[in-house]
């Protein structure tokens, strides 16, 4: 079957230049994941001495372009949709692929949101290149103009370093939350080229009936997270965890198996396939510290772990480690914090009355 060919390596790799970033947006605002990618794209482009180019599709692209420019985008290529408002993987794949055929990017970064994953997979097929999905760190190799990407291996201890030497663009995704938000640049210097595009026929057979914004627990901006893993013993094990989280005005997180077991909803999952968090304080109770969990929380400022196994891998990733039963230690910590707060409150009161 000739049309089922996989990937094609272009002959003249040097024709492929610049770091492209897909600027996923809604109502004139770039998504957090896309901003993170823009920040990474900027870093890599500087290293490779190339430009960072933003691709924007939708409506209200002026606002999107201004925001991208403020984060250091060098060029913005926009497709302003005159007859359609919303996301369509069919239409967007075609528009982005046209940009790729025309512009020949060296590197293409897409946020690994649900929308991004639909897109990147379809674009990869259309443009006959590969995708490294869910990368957790990126760097540029200026000598070979290559993107170096890291992602957790299938095992649970190591990280793979990945290169795409012969195919272009070198395409990758990272889950939203993987990187810090970039800093704004002092003097934006960005050219914007927006063309009007009619999607017409492309989405005619694919009607969008309703768009409803969704509210969901967002751990990516939480300051304090107390997480439970299999070591908490059962759904009831989350009771002391919730208590401590409440005491600290934080949120509750979880490892994947406890989500799979239905002890707590998916929106609490931290890790490679859950949310990537970077709180000031992360407490891991009864979590072993497999790599897929670690990559989702290793950027936390302070990490405290509680585990009955003194050799659990999490020890290596902790600032403080209590070798104890999770339920007991968490409950004691909650008590201790509450006592302290109470004593403090009394002190503050007595100062006021004095």
């Amino acid at each position: 079957m000739t049309d089922l060919v996989g990937c094609i390596a272009p002959e003249k790799l040097e024709e492929y230049r610049n770091v492209f970033v897909y600027l996923e947006n809604r109502n004139g605002k770039i998504s957090r994941g896309a901003l993170e990618m823009l920040g990474k794209g900027k870093e890599i482009s500087v290293k490779l001495n190339e430009k960072v180019v933003g691709i924007a599709i939708g409506q209200d692209l002026k606002a999107v372009a201004d925001e991208a420019a403020s984060f250091g985008c060098d060029l913005i290529l926009g497709a302003e949709l005159s007859d359609f408002n919303g996301f369509s993987s069919v239409a967007y794949t075609n528009i982005i692929s046209d940009f790729i055929f025309e512009q020949k990017p060296n590197i293409f970064l897409i946020s690994g949101s649900r929308e991004g994953r639909d897109l990147v997979s379809r674009i990869a097929v259309k443009c006959k290149t590969g995708v490294a999905a869910d990368c957790i760190e990126l760097d540029g190799d200026p000598t070979n103009r290559l993107l170096i990407a890291w992602r957790p291996s299938f095992g649970d201890k190591t990280i793979d370093q990945i290169l795409c030497r012969k195919h272009r663009p070198q395409m990758i995704t990272s889950r939203p939350g993987s990187y810090k938000l970039p800093e704004k640049v002092e003097k934006p210097d960005c050219e914007t080229r927006i063309k009007k595009v009619k999607v017409g026929k492309l989405v005619a057979k694919h009607k969008i009936l309703e768009f409803k914004p969704k509210t969901r627990l967002d751990l990516t901006s939480s300051k304090i997270i107390v997480s439970g893993g299999l070591g908490i013993g059962g759904p009831k094990g989350f009771e002391p965890i919730r208590k401590l989280a409440k005491e600290l005005e934080g949120e509750v997180g979880a490892s994947r198996p406890v989500v799979d077991l239905g002890w707590i909803p998916y929106e609490h999952q931290v890790g490679q396939t859950g949310q990537t968090v970077r709180p000031k304080l992360y407490i891991a109770a009864g979590i072993s510290g497999k790599i897929q969990h670690i990559v989702g929380m290793k950027a936390s400022e302070t990490i405290i772990a509680i585990n009955t196994d003194p050799d659990a891998p999490i020890v290596k990733y902790s600032d403080y480690f209590i070798n104890a039963d999770a339920g007991k230690a968490v409950a004691k910590l909650a008590d201790e914090i509450r006592k302290y707060k109470k004593a403090h409150l009394v002190e503050a009161d007595s100062e006021q009355t004095a």
Binding site: S89, V131, F154, I162, I304, K332
Partner: protein, 248 residues
């Protein structure tokens, strides 16, 4: 309207039982029990529900190994009518897997292709997009609800920041999320009959395609303080203090 439904199923090693070889640090997947992956069960369940409402026939395709007939039998017990096992799976390579599956899908006249939105093994979630693009069919992704209305597929999709309800012509590829349904426990009669349903086994000729190469595989460095408390009574006040400092 009777529908031909294809459901893509995946067999995985029981990840909960996965052990890592302590000297090499790589996972040992040999000799682990295999089972039908969770999201594949959601996809099969949805196929059965669509058939119950609209009539038709359900085919399942599994790209796996000689051992995949057990996963196929699980799918038969849940209500799949005919199965295709393609052998030659060599590990996670979405580019290759999507080509192998697309080739088989094309050979079967169909209205709907159902699959999980990601797999419990890789979670990269690239297959639905790749397959739909290779087939040139519409994609409804991350469905939490599917209806067939006037010969078209209507799905409510849980996207990153919104839920979208969209409708498309058939044939279409639809990926489902875990929330879409509660997979049934197969009735005993169906388990007993599962062995009698037609199962076609063939090998794929499609070779490795992924252009990405792994050039190193290492454990990440960690520069944490690693202060260990063996005694809980000593540890609690110290750690409570650390918590207060960290959360300031």
């Amino acid at each position: 309207m009777a529908l031909n439904i294809i459901v893509l199923i995946k067999q995985i090693v029981d990840i909960d039982l996965l052990k890592v070889n302590p000297s090499t640090g790589s996972p040992e997947v040999q000799n682990l029990p295999l089972r039908l992956e969770n999201l594949s069960k959601n996809a099969v369940e949805e196929a059965v529900r669509i058939k119950e409402k609209n009539g038709g026939k359900i085919y399942a395709i599994c790209f796996g190994t000689e051992k995949s007939s057990s996963a196929m039998k699980e799918a038969f017990a849940m209500g799949v009518d005919e199965g295709f096992v393609i052998t030659g799976y060599q590990g996670n390579d979405p580019a290759r897997t999507s080509m192998v599956l697309a080739e088989k899908i094309r050979a079967i006249p169909h209205d709907i292709v159902l699959l999980g939105n990601q797999s419990a093994e890789s979670y990269t979630g690239l297959l639905p997009g790749k397959i739909s693009r290779i087939l040139g069919e519409r994609l409804l992704s991350n469905a939490i609800k599917i209806e067939i209305v006037n010969g078209r597929a209507r799905a409510t999709m849980a996207m990153e920041s919104e839920t979208v309800t969209a409708e498309t012509q058939l044939p279409a590829v639809i990926s489902v999320t875990q929330e879409i349904n509660e997979p049934r426990l197969p009735p005993v009669m169906q388990i007993l009959q599962a062995g009698r349903k037609p199962m076609n086994v063939s090998a794929t000729g499609i070779k490795e395609v992924t252009p990405n190469k792994i050039i190193s595989n290492i454990a990440p460095k960690s520069e944490r303080r690693k202060i260990v408390f063996e005694d809980i009574e000593k540890g609690i006040p110290e750690v409570a203090k650390a918590i207060r400092e960290a959360s300031r």
